[in-house]
């Protein structure tokens, strides 16, 4: 890896780890379902940026873009379905708190 690539990798890598930590912390600490989805979104965004960075460094941006498009499609489906589930839980329990899910059967 040459010096320019290393500089790019280290700078972006540093912030990607911080972004991932933000998402992971949000997912662990929050009790609100919508905020949990936001945490998942932040994790996915960190991974997206990492894949694009890997594509740039290895000179395979086209492959990285193809993979990222797939990730984005999956991300949207996850967000829409998770939001639907959150809404469904809210209608049933009148709360967005994940602890209200403990009263479920099974």
């Amino acid at each position: 890896m040459n010096a320019n690539s290393w500089q790019l990798f280290s700078t972006f890598g540093f912030f990607i780890i911080l972004l991932f930590a933000c998402g992971a912390y949000c997912l662990v600490v929050t009790r609100n379902m919508i905020r949990a989805i936001i945490g998942i979104e932040l994790l996915i965004k960190a991974v997206t940026l990492l894949i694009i960075l890997a594509g740039k460094i290895t000179g395979r941006t086209s492959l990285a873009q193809g993979l990222v498009m797939t990730i984005i499609v999956i991300e949207v489906v996850i967000a829409a379905t998770a939001a639907g589930i959150a809404l469904w839980v809210f209608r049933h329990t009148d709360s967005l708190d994940v602890r209200s899910l403990r009263s479920l059967k099974g």
Binding site: T11, L19, R35, L42, S62, Q65, V76, A79, A83, F90
Partner: protein, 165 residues
């Protein structure tokens, strides 16, 4: 490089805002800002198509989904907001500290620069070639996932309507 650094710092600030913000609507706006900043970074990393996709889908569509979900839920009362902010402060004040600690650890951790990258075979340079020829199965997977997601959302909202009756 300085421009990248500025956008990266702004991305982390927007992410922190979306995680630590009191209101869900502001958190959603923070997520949209994070997404928009990441789109700029992706564009600067020579991937314009992925950047446009990220900007239109993640910044636009997902924000719309979140805002509609939030608008369909009941807002908290003043008392609940006060209680929630006290709880939130207790749980979230660690986050900036953790980020600073991780940052310092990464700076102190001297990763060796001279690692060798695995050789990669030559690949078509056009995204269309990659999408339609090299990663054909991904397209099929995307279509199936989209259909499954659409079906899931329809079923969830159907259930809501049934319950309302």
């Amino acid at each position: 490089m300085n421009i990248n650094l500025t956008f990266l710092i702004l991305t982390i600030i927007a992410a922190l805002w979306s995680v630590m913000g009191r209101s869900l609507l502001k958190a959603t706006i923070g997520l949209a800002a994070t997404s928009a900043l990441i789109s700029i970074l992706i564009f600067r990393l020579d991937s314009p198509l992925a950047a446009v996709f990220e900007l239109s889908v993640c910044t636009g569509l997902i924000t719309a989904v979140f805002v509609s979900t939030i608008s369909l839920t009941k807002p908290l009362t003043h008392k609940e907001i006060l209680q929630a902010s006290k709880d939130r402060f207790k749980r979230y004040w660690y986050l900036p500290v953790i980020l600073v600690v991780i940052g310092i650890a990464l700076v102190l951790l001297k990763v060796r620069q001279d690692f060798i990258m695995a050789p990669v075979p030559a690949l078509q340079q056009d995204v269309r070639d990659v999408l339609w020829n090299f990663r054909r199965l991904d397209i099929l997977g995307q279509v199936i996932i989209l259909l499954a997601g659409a079906l899931g959302v329809v079923i969830l909202f159907e259930e809501n309507k049934r319950n309302e009756r």
